[in-house]
């Protein structure tokens, strides 16, 4: 009797909320990439950043560790041979810093110098192509805030398209937005709000699959990544 119940519970079509979502990796890729900080990995559904989905990272000020959270995962994806696309980064990228973290600079593609209207298109192409393990793009500035008006506004539709593109290409899409966008609805499967903390950053998981919002502090001092 217990054997039959166990078999039933193990059936792949059955989803149990306590375990989070298990995605069958398409094409041999795993469904998540570990983010490298165990305290955060425990709270992320699937144990890491979701591949084939959109992640929103919200913060008020740059420079509090928003990129450091992602760097170990980016290093892992580059090490597997997939590319990393950085679209319209706000500053110049220092190659030695990337090398120190373990990200292979030969696998980084930077798209710069285009007007803001082309950034979502470029992100969509990069996500859909399947060649990029992760696509990072920055949507900050007053124009970006106005664009997201309303639950079903233009910004929402655009992000939804990008979410579908990420699914098609099995890539991790990360969009960096201002913290004021936290009040708006978003189709991203994972939303993080970052607030600076004493030694690291305090991450509030505003939205995640299969679990309630939570708050966790990531301490960078323990990790040599910085």
């Amino acid at each position: 009797m217990e054997g039959a119940l166990d078999d039933l519970l193990r059936h792949p079509a059955l989803w149990r909320a306590a375990e989070g979502v298990r995605d069958a990796g398409a094409g041999g890729y795993p469904a998540t990439v570990a983010c490298g900080f165990p305290v955060l990995d425990r709270h992320l559904p699937g144990g890491g950043w979701p591949l084939g989905a959109l992640v929103e990272v919200l913060y008020r000020e740059p420079g509090i560790g928003e990129l450091s959270l992602l760097l170990p995962a980016l290093a892992h994806l580059a090490g597997e041979g997939r590319w990393l696309a950085w679209i319209a980064p706000p500053y110049r990228i220092a190659v030695p810093a990337l090398q120190a973290v373990g990200v292979d600079p030969a696998r980084v593609l930077v798209v710069r110098g285009t007007d803001a209207a082309q950034v979502p298109w470029a992100a969509e192409q990069a996500l859909r192509s399947g060649a990029c393990g992760a696509v990072l793009w920055w949507l900050r500035g007053r124009r970006a805030e106005r664009g997201g008006g309303g639950a079903r506004g233009e910004g929402f539709r655009q992000l939804r398209r990008l979410q579908l593109a990420a699914q098609a290409g099995h890539s991790l899409g990360v969009v960096f937005r201002d913290a004021r966008a936290a009040a708006q609805a978003s189709p991203a499967v994972l939303r993080l709000l970052l607030v600076p903390a004493e030694q690291g950053v305090q991450v509030t998981l505003l939205k995640r699959r299969g679990a309630a919002p939570a708050c966790v502090t990531v301490d960078f001092a323990r990790h040599p990544a910085r």
Binding site: G27, G28, R60, E61, P62, G63, I64, G65, E66, L67, S68, L71, G79, E80, G81, R82, W83, P89, P90, Y91, R92, I93, A94, V95, P96, A97, L98, Q99, A100, V101, P105, A106, V108, L109, V110, V111, R112, G113, T114, Q118, W121, A122, Q125, A126, S129, G130, A131, C132, V195, P196, A197, R226
Partner: protein, 527 residues
């Protein structure tokens, strides 16, 4: 089992079993190469296509002059639907169709278009010869194996021709002259083997021959409406009455005399131009014209076993300098679909302020194309699937880079390069991807806790012994690290770097100059 001889030469006749019955003076069939199969293509609408009006919605026709009278040489589909037919008098044609626009015949444009088609045909076989004014004859016997048979080859040809928008009549026969006659007569059933050739040639009407109209009229007056009738006439009488031309044609068609054809040699570089029917900014028309040019380019590249590394598209305007667009390719390519995708991407988002009168395509750099070989031992891989993934990824990355470059401009897509320099602003560079090929970066240098983000130029800060605020009071956490370098190129720096944290939580990378004036600067942000 028939024994077939494959030598050329008029004298040595070898009767084979099943020799054709119809032969003017009972001569046995001459020597022929039986493994050869010729395909002839006639393009009745070539004069229209050369002017760019073949696929126009309005009825259009091209007229040629014969003395003082002008007759219609070719009419497009819209005109034929209304009742205009080639050969009609122009006045009659305009009476039938008042909306008809008649263009003068441009033999030079037609010849250039025929050369372009011959370039395209070189993608299917190495032996192509021109049959002016509107035909191409190609030897396909040697290509049948590569394409997997006659059916697939013909399907591929038809698909290409449909994409280019050409009307075509084809004929297949063991000799080029017979194939051309079949094409003219629109007898598209392939004929293999010389024994069946005579019967099929006999059915061709005399009107399809390339002879002066007077000769054709005399033949028809004699009662010979088909070539079979001509062949039944006595040979020497026919030669005396109509000259040796007709006899020579029959001999060549039936394979009795050799029919050497000059092979078409492609020009050393590909530079073609396509006129537009109407000067416009309609991107559909531009893409249509670009599609034909790209198919021709693809054939040209395949004939030379090379790929294009960069392609230039020229959109000419009247009175204004032309718009030139250069498309860079990651790897040399001869595939029409890939080139078309890139050109389409670019043309769709090109700002066009003036009307375009013609479209030109040029290849900038050719490179020999090596057939692709897989790599069994990939440096990064997790096993057999890992190898496949690394390889697939490379292809997809190439396509992505090309697409992004096609739409955003080749300089917008960059890769990172590290330079051997201690000065942080010099040690990394972002260079456009098409300039980065083949450049190897320097090995990593140890950097004292440098951040990922660097400001384009160090921003000066106020401050004396301690830095003043950036966006709030600063608290210096770590430091100093000294970097002194660059005395040899005039940009000498001597700096002490510190990591500071503001009250709002942001961590900055600052430096203070070691020499007078000892200013503070903000150089980077820790992300």
């Amino acid at each position: 089992m028939k024994s077939q001889v494959a030598t050329l030469g008029p004298g040595s006749a070898q009767p084979s079993a099943g020799a054709p019955a119809a032969s003017v003076a009972g001569e046995p069939v001459g020597v022929h190469a039986t493994t050869r199969s010729w395909l002839a293509l006639e393009f009745p609408g070539l004069s229209l296509a050369a002017l760019g009006v073949a696929s126009a919605d309005a009825p259009r026709a091209v007229s040629a002059h014969h003395g003082r009278r002008a007759h219609v040489l070719a009419a497009n589909e819209a005109a034929r639907a209304v009742g205009v037919a080639p050969g009609m008098d122009v006045t009659a044609a305009t009476a039938v169709c008042p909306a008809l626009r008649v263009h003068g015949h441009d033999p030079q444009a037609e010849a250039a278009a025929l050369q372009g088609l011959a370039c395209w045909a070189l993608g299917y076989t190495s032996q192509v010869s021109l049959q002016p004014p509107r035909g191409v004859v190609m030897e396909i016997g040697a290509s049948l194996r590569l394409f997997g048979g006659l059916g697939p080859l013909l399907r591929a040809l038809e698909e290409d021709l449909r994409a280019m928008g050409h009307e075509v009549r084809r004929g297949i026969a063991p000799t080029p002259t017979a194939a051309w006659l079949f094409a003219r007569a629109a007898a598209s059933t392939p004929v293999h083997g010389v024994d069946r050739l005579a019967d099929s040639v006999a059915r061709i009407p005399v009107a399809c021959l390339d002879l002066p109209p007077a000769v054709k009229g005399d033949l028809q007056a004699l009662g010979s409406r088909t070539l079979g009738d001509c062949m039944r006439l006595p040979r020497d009488g026919l030669g005396r009455r109509f000259g040796g031309e007709l006899l020579a044609l029959l001999d060549r068609a039936l394979g009795r005399s050799p029919d050497p054809r000059a092979c078409f040699v492609p020009p050393p570089c590909f530079e073609r131009r396509m006129d537009l029917a109407v000067e416009s900014v309609d991107r559909g028309l531009l893409l249509e014209a670009a599609r034909r040019l790209i198919h021709e380019l693809s054939g040209f590249l395949r004939a030379r076993a090379s790929g294009a590394c960069a392609v230039e598209l020229e959109l000419a305007h009247r009175g204004v300098p032309a718009t030139r667009v250069v498309l860079e390719l990651v790897s040399p390519c001869s595939d029409a679909q890939r080139l078309l995708a890139l050109v389409g991407e670019r043309v769709e988002h090109l700002p066009l302020h003036h009307e375009v009168c013609y479209l030109g395509l040029r290849v900038h750099r050719l490179q020999e194309l090596h057939p692709h070989t897989g790599d069994l031992c990939a440096p990064r891989g997790r096993g057999p699937e890992g190898v496949l993934q690394a390889h697939e990824c490379g292809h997809r990355a190439q396509r992505l880079v090309e697409r992004l470059g096609a739409r955003l401009g080749a300089d917008a897509v960059r890769v990172l390069e590290s330079v051997a320099d201690h000065r942080p602003e010099r040690s990394s560079a972002e260079i456009p991807w098409h300039l980065a090929a083949g450049r190897r970066g320097e090995p990593p240098r140890p950097s004292p806790g440098a951040p990922v983000w660097l400001l384009p130029r160090p921003r000066p800060l106020q401050g004396g012994r301690n830095p003043a605020s950036v966006d709030g009071p600063l608290h210096v956490e770590h430091g100093p690290w000294r970097i002194e370098s660059g005395w040899w190129d005039g940009e000498d720096v001597a700096r002490d770097y510190y990591v500071a944290r503001s009250t709002r939580g942001t961590r900055y990378w600052l430096f203070r100059e070691c020499r007078e004036p000892r200013h503070w600067y903000l150089h980077g942000i820790f992300a």
